[in-house]
Subunit: 304 residues, 2 copies
């Protein structure tokens, strides 16, 4: 059973407090550790959660507000100091490359590993990363500046060998790989055994959608439909809905509505404004419309 | 009795650990709070030490390596979010303005308060700030990139009124201000009382010199001569003197030698490489040449 593991490195909104961190998450999916957003202090949070820097090869930045990317120059510098040589891919809005590389350049601190920026500028969901097991798509969001959420999806895996059936038909091991790929088998007597008699359905692919920062935006529902887990920002409570609209953010209730419409497996809230003292109010508010709600908290891990 | 108060916000060198911070200090001198260097996470450290953001009006950046200035964009953004309107002056190497403002610009996050950069590029000590009570000079250092230390000096204050003498001569209060400025007083009978009969010497002006990062550099001795307190980096121990030279840093012993030659009132060590586990070794090593040695530690305060 493969699970996705999500580390919340920071989940507060812009104004810092003494013991909270701005947005950053690390998603373990298949063999990847994807870093999602990189607010100031992210490298320290990675250290605290004992996530190996060398395993991070892809960083996804939603937008260029400080609380989502000011930790990037420091992390890139640290990679260099640690002697990294594996390439690093950074996905983020147009402009990120110039700003971040200039921060390194003024200190003559070029990276000694390949640093590849993938600048984003479209307003439709697009595939930005793919390998044999995972796909990553953008989720265009609605904020004060150009912003994308990200959808991380496992690809449908091989079918599972039904070992009893295979032994029953006395099928040679050399066919197993092809059977898992969906092929039928022709026995020595010339008869054909259909693949569905030899295999079981693969595990349903899991998926994670990260949506921050954004106003309430129903257009994202088809993109995140039925994801295993949705993180949706909830900067405000319903009492400040007007403020949410003005600043390009959502309320906890709006996050719940999106979760319900998209019929997701679970909803994680975060990006709380520091004006609220009791985070449970966010949970209670979202629960009015959607059942499976959890609160992001710095240092928390989710397995799904 | 006026003391200077130095807050150590962070004192480790570049590679971050889970619970240490890169270089930043806040110096309280007269009515100022001067921020010196601003490594990543400085704004959080300021919060933890309950230093009021609004009181910081001058920031001095020694050089453009990440562990000394990557916290600046975040701090400037936070000032904006908090509705600051008082001007902020930033002193640092040429290039700082373009890099830092671009980080804000890509997120459409211009400051709504006046942000004035003072770019430094000379290699001789120069006066960069002055008001009626304080002067700040650069201390040209020797590092891998253009680097300045900073010398913060109180100006010599007014002479102190010797209240017994003044009453004895039955001098009218309206003369007090002039007496403190050093003037003699002519009595009603035409006789003159010399100022030194009416006043005491003012308190000796205090001073603080911040020297990080730098190789051993004797040229700085005349500039920091007899300062009340010297902070001098000690990235390495003597056993790694060669490495110190190669990387543009100093050993604890070298810091001690500079302190001794400059006959300073006290020496604070810092900017420790994370390769060492026992900081007391730094102190012991410096003490071999200079007596009054203290260790900077994150969160520590020095009064002098």
């Amino acid at each position: 059973m493969n699970n996705l593991k999500l580390h919340i490195l920071g989940c507060y909104s812009a104004t810092p407090r003494a013991f909270t961190n701005p947005t950053a998450q690390a998603l373990e999916i298949k063999n990847h550790i994807f870093l999602i957003d990189c607010g100031e202090g992210t490298q320290v949070q990675l250290r605290r959660q004992k996530i190996k820097f060398a395993r991070i090869k892809h960083i996804f930045i939603s937008h260029l507000h400080g609380d989502h990317f000011f930790g990037l120059p420091g992390l890139l510098s640290t990679f260099r100091l640690l002697g990294r040589d594996t390439p690093l891919h950074v996905y983020g809005p147009k402009g990120i490359k110039e700003a971040v590389t200039l921060m390194l350049k003024v200190g003559s601190a070029w990276t000694n590993y390949p640093l590849i920026f993938h600048e984003l500028e479209t307003n439709t969901s697009e595939l930005i990363f793919e390998d044999d097991k995972v796909e990553v798509f953008t989720i265009p969001l609605k904020h004060r500046v150009y912003t994308n959420g990200f959808l991380f999806k496992e690809k449908l895996g091989d079918r599972k060998l039904d070992i009893n059936a295979v032994l029953n038909y006395n099928i040679d091991k050399c066919f197993y790989q092809n059977i898992k790929k969906g092929k039928d088998v022709t026995l020595d007597d010339g008869s054909v055994v259909a693949n569905d008699k030899l295999t079981l359905d693969p595990q349903k692919p899991k998926s994670y959608a990260f949506c921050s920062d954004t106003s309430y935006k129903e257009d994202i529902v088809p993109i995140i439909k039925e994801v295993t887990m949705l993180y949706h920002e909830s900067t405000f409570l319903e009492q400040h809905e007007k403020l949410a609209l003005e600043t390009g953010h959502s309320t906890a209730k709006q996050a719940g509505i999106i979760a319900k419409k998209a019929a997701v497996g679970g909803l994680i809230l975060g990006h709380y404004s520091t004006r609220y003292n009791d985070l449970n109010e966010f949970k209670e508010e979202a629960k009015q419309v959607f059942d499976k709600v959890a609160l992001a908290e710095d240092g928390k891990e989710f397995l799904f």
